[in-house]
Subunit: 609 residues, 2 copies
């Protein structure tokens, strides 16, 4: 062993002990004939004191930043103590030292606030990983994984490995494929998730399965996606939705406790998908703050059970509202005194192409209970008051109203709400609010093909009360314009998403376990019997031999860690991430391979040969 | 929840409780008007008693093998108790039942001694996994993994995930490659191990890393190899070989304790590679029994430090020995009374093509201290006695002697030793003996290319005392015939294998951490500077920024589990294994993919288009 202690271990109680440390040179400071060095390792930093007697050796073996150093010395009480670090009361009076390895000057400083840009830090990721900020993220990731494993173990879950070289059955995202040398012309696929395998394990009787497992998706990457990502993947047999919700609420609460020391004792709130869409404009609402959407005009065919209050704005000759498919308002608390400059800035914000609105209407709910709006021409104060009441606006609030096509306007209002929440400090980084979103539609309508697609995946079960209706009806949509009237449009899924602070951190469903229902589902998605057999014959086969009722969930491990770590970017929580082009710029992958390898695989490139 | 208890839970203390169980129908037995059913789940089997009152319902809903059943009833004390199972003292007096799912007749019986052949069980792996024998294997696997994680956690190791989509740098086995859609014409590779990444983590200061991780190797498969396999992969910084041996001896001993309740208190034996080859004929000796090899004639240039005792057999005019490159003897304890039939059988055994010897000489060491051999013509009793003494044979033993070309003969004698060990019951399935094999040669000679290849891998460090010599000498072999005289032939590696009962379960090394030495190593393996930069530029780059001394080890998780489970086959310890052609016959992978997928990847098949 090159050391007797770590750089984070020494305390006052160790004074006068002879100690050996090894680590990296963080800083070097000279005071006259004395040299101070901060020595760093994974566990902390210890100050070294090189007295004058070592100057000759230091001149012969000069030190530099990031040099690897082994030192032996005696622990000494410091005169000027540093109370910011656990080792700050002592220093090591160096007797002798060895330079274990040298370093050229790093391309950026190894500090929390580094001067290195993103690209440089990705290229030298092995140096970026030395920074305390990145190390903390990986330590948190390890702690989350360990907490999850402990909880699931105590709940009798078994970690069972599923294969990585599987079969390509694309439905949704693209598969990465792997040419097989031993089976020329054939390909494996890398799993987008272990979905079918965990279901087979349920058929096999392993009634509580989990895995923390890499998954792969060949998608065009957005800034917060990775081609390979990690899931906490779980499945249970002999359960109903309620059992799963309770079990995995418990998992997340345990992680909160173990990793953040947060006692999340409240029951996790629950909300139907329809309510989430209606009151927050999206299916993963951030419920740390209110500011709910008020639908002043909403196509009632989408959400037939919601109350239509469009009379509040109609009949006023305000064309923008009259002609818009949808009009949605939100009340920003305490913003009635916003200046013209501030409202203009917000208007510009919603007009950016990413948001895509044409303008914004506002209503000031003044502290004296009077109202002032940008549409005073069209609406009397009485009308404005009625609108404000519908929006649950208080005196002192400002109401913002967007109008336009349904989906875009809903999305824009939702974005505006989050933006205002950020500006108003309502999205606190150290506040954590969980939410179950339930009762998703089973199907979504695919306009291009005039057919149904699975909202979650093809293995999700409809609500028990919808099963008979689903089996009895023909999935074909005769009249594309009226697809919403097709009975399948109203089928709800036994599916659930867990949302944390406005991010979907997990999702799952009760699965279909009846062969006939699974076949009907495949047919509804446009798969004929041949394709069903080719892609999922093994699963349909397994369902013939006593498949139990089962369901499960998968958590996005990277994202969960990022949110717990207070970051928006999953990349900061992955040791060796890829960039937006799917490249690892450090190792320079992907890259060309030898002609010999291609020949052995019996493939060739379209471009070349 | 579909159950209040599991099928393994109920005991006498539960008598008179009302209980709900769910599981699979294992057996159905009718006694007059009463029906007994054994209900099975992951946790055990519970006997159900259906009284006459349920016969009507049973007729309307007939049960069958592997049906999924939910039953409610009252726990009853059994009159004839079954002491073989924990639930054998009770039965459930069924009040009501629901058939949750039906099953067609399984293609083989779901029992320990199944009537299903290998191929059938692989195709219906989801049914094979229901068998108690297979379930025990997966439970053992989970226990081994959990034990390893706990130990490594306590030792401050961190689980850090390394990427799966990396760069192809084949050296030795072939890489599986993954075409990149976003980077047309370029490929990722799946890792054969996380080797370079774990070394980068050491450079980054994460001084104790581990991962239980899938690795991939596109090799022609032998019966006990899989294209994807799992490693317990570990690396430490600031350590010497001795530290690693101690740390991972501790890991295996902990696993023995946690999983098998074995207190392995002895220090793990250690043996140099040379001694292993000399006394056991291979580098992973089974040391549960002695029967060491006695090299009566051995080319001393291979093992220059060993004693040449060829005078014992020379000068007797026995051409077989005189003309053989190598003559090796082993003494089989207590076999002097072997019949002619038995020795003939053994002779046939060594003459099989897999062993490839031409014949076998034997010497009976009779109980009365006389000797009798198949070469009495050539050797006097005195000579035979001297040979027996060299072989440490006792009165009552039988000495077997093989002669021929060096490598084949050594291998054959080693195989014969293991075969005799098996026959004589010396390889006990419940006895576990660990061994460290040390001091491997750093290089092997590749005859075809007349160059050196790395015995372990290109990152393994030579012994510190050999480093200077390695750097100073030119790796080029001028005279192929005398390659053994090249200084590189004598360089020993700081490498180690852990052997359990004659199987290599782990191996590793102290790594090179000096850029110049790593470049010299790459050059010795025939890589020019351009190739070094292209393949390993990131590692050479990282070594410029303060790389610490480090080393590590990887355990073959599948094999470790198999040996602990008393099996020769790793396939029994993998939930969804592939067959010898690398196929998953259950899901039918690999398989053809859509033309559209090929087009998107910008590749085509050699055969088609």
């Amino acid at each position: 062993m090159f050391r007797s202690h770590t750089c984070g271990a020494l305390r006052l109680a160790d004074v006068n002990k002879t100690i050996t440390l090894a680590g990296w040179v963080q800083t070097i400071r000279k005071f006259g004939s004395i040299t101070f060095v901060d020595l760093r390792d994974r566990y902390g930093i210890t100050q070294l004191l090189f007295a004058e007697s070592l100057n000759e050796k230091l001149e012969a073996n000069p030190l530099g930043r990031e040099y690897v150093l082994q030192v032996t010395g005696i622990v000494n009480e410091r005169s000027n103590k540093n109370t910011n670090i656990p080792t700050g009361e002592i220093e090591l009076l160096v007797n002798d030292f060895t330079v274990l390895n040298k370093s050229i000057t790093p391309p950026f400083t190894i500090q929390d606030d580094t001067d290195g840009g993103d690209d440089l830090r990705m290229k030298y990721r092995f140096l970026d990983l030395r920074r305390q900020a990145v190390k903390k993220n990986l330590e948190l990731r390890y702690a989350v994984g360990r907490s999850a494993r402990n909880y699931l173990h105590e709940q009798q879950f078994m970690d069972i490995e599923t294969p990585f070289l599987i079969k390509s059955t694309p439905e949704g995202a693209r598969d990465f494929v792997v040419p097989s040398r031993m089976n020329a012309g054939q390909f494996y696929a890398l799993p987008q998730s272990p979905q079918t395998f965990k279901q087979l394990l349920m058929v096999s009787g392993y009634d509580r399965y989990y895995q923390i497992v890499k998954c792969f998706r060949d998608e065009d990457l957005r800034s917060d996606r990775q081609p390979e990502f990690t899931q906490i993947d779980c499945e249970m047999a002999f359960v109903e939705q309620e059992d799963i919700l309770n079990m995995f609420e418990g998992l997340i609460k345990r992680i909160f406790k173990d990793v953040k020391n947060i006692d999340y004792t409240n029951a996790v709130e629950r909300m139907s998908w329809e309510n989430a869409m209606w009151t927050y404009g999206n299916d993963k609402p951030d419920i740390r703050f209110e500011m709910q959407l008020c639908n002043l005009k909403f196509p009632s065919h989408t959400f037939p059970s919601q109350k239509d209050i469009s009379s509040l704005i109609s009949g006023a000759d305000f064309k923008v509202f009259d002609e818009a498919e949808t009009v949605i308002a939100i009340a920003a608390p305490g913003c009635s005194e916003y200046t013209r400059k501030q409202t203009d800035e917000l208007t510009e914000w919603v007009k950016r192409p990413q948001i895509g609105m044409k303008g914004m209407v506002y209503i000031k709910c003044n502290a004296d209970s009077s109202f002032k709006s940008s549409v005073d021409k069209f609406y009397s104060e009485e009308k404005l008051k009625a609108i404000a009441e519908s929006c649950k606006a208080q005196a002192g609030d400002m109401i913002f109203i967007l109008a336009g096509a349904e989906e875009r306007t809903r999305k824009a209002t939702s974005e505006l709400r989050l933006h205002l929440g950020q500006i108003l400090g309502l999205r606190k980084i150290d506040e954590f609010k969980l939410l179950w979103v339930l009762d998703f539609p089973l199907f979504e309508y695919a306009e291009d093909d005039n057919r149904w697609v699975a909202r979650h995946h093809p293995f999700t079960s409809p609500k028990p009360s919808d099963i008979e209706m689903m089996i009895q009806n023909n999935p074909v949509i005769e009249n594309a314009a009226e697809y919403l009237k097709h009975p399948y449009a109203s089928i709800k899924a036994n599916a659930y998403d867990m949302v944390l602070n406005g991010n979907e951190i997990g999702g799952g469903s009760i699965r279909i376990f009846q062969k006939e229902l699974q076949q009907k589902m495949f047919a509804a998605l446009g798969m004929d019997e041949h394709e069903q057999q080719h892609k999922f014959g093994f699963l349909l086969g397994a369902f013939e031999y006593g498949a139990p009722p089962h369901g499960g969930i998968a958590f996005g491990f990277d994202r969960l860690c990022a949110i717990l770590g207070g970051s928006e970017s999953i990349r900061d929580f992955i040791a060796f991430p890829k960039n937006n082009s799917g490249r690892d710029v450090m190792i320079d992958a992907p890259s060309t391979i030898d002609e010999k390898q291609l020949t052995e695989l019996e493939i060739k490139l379209n471009s070349g040969s």
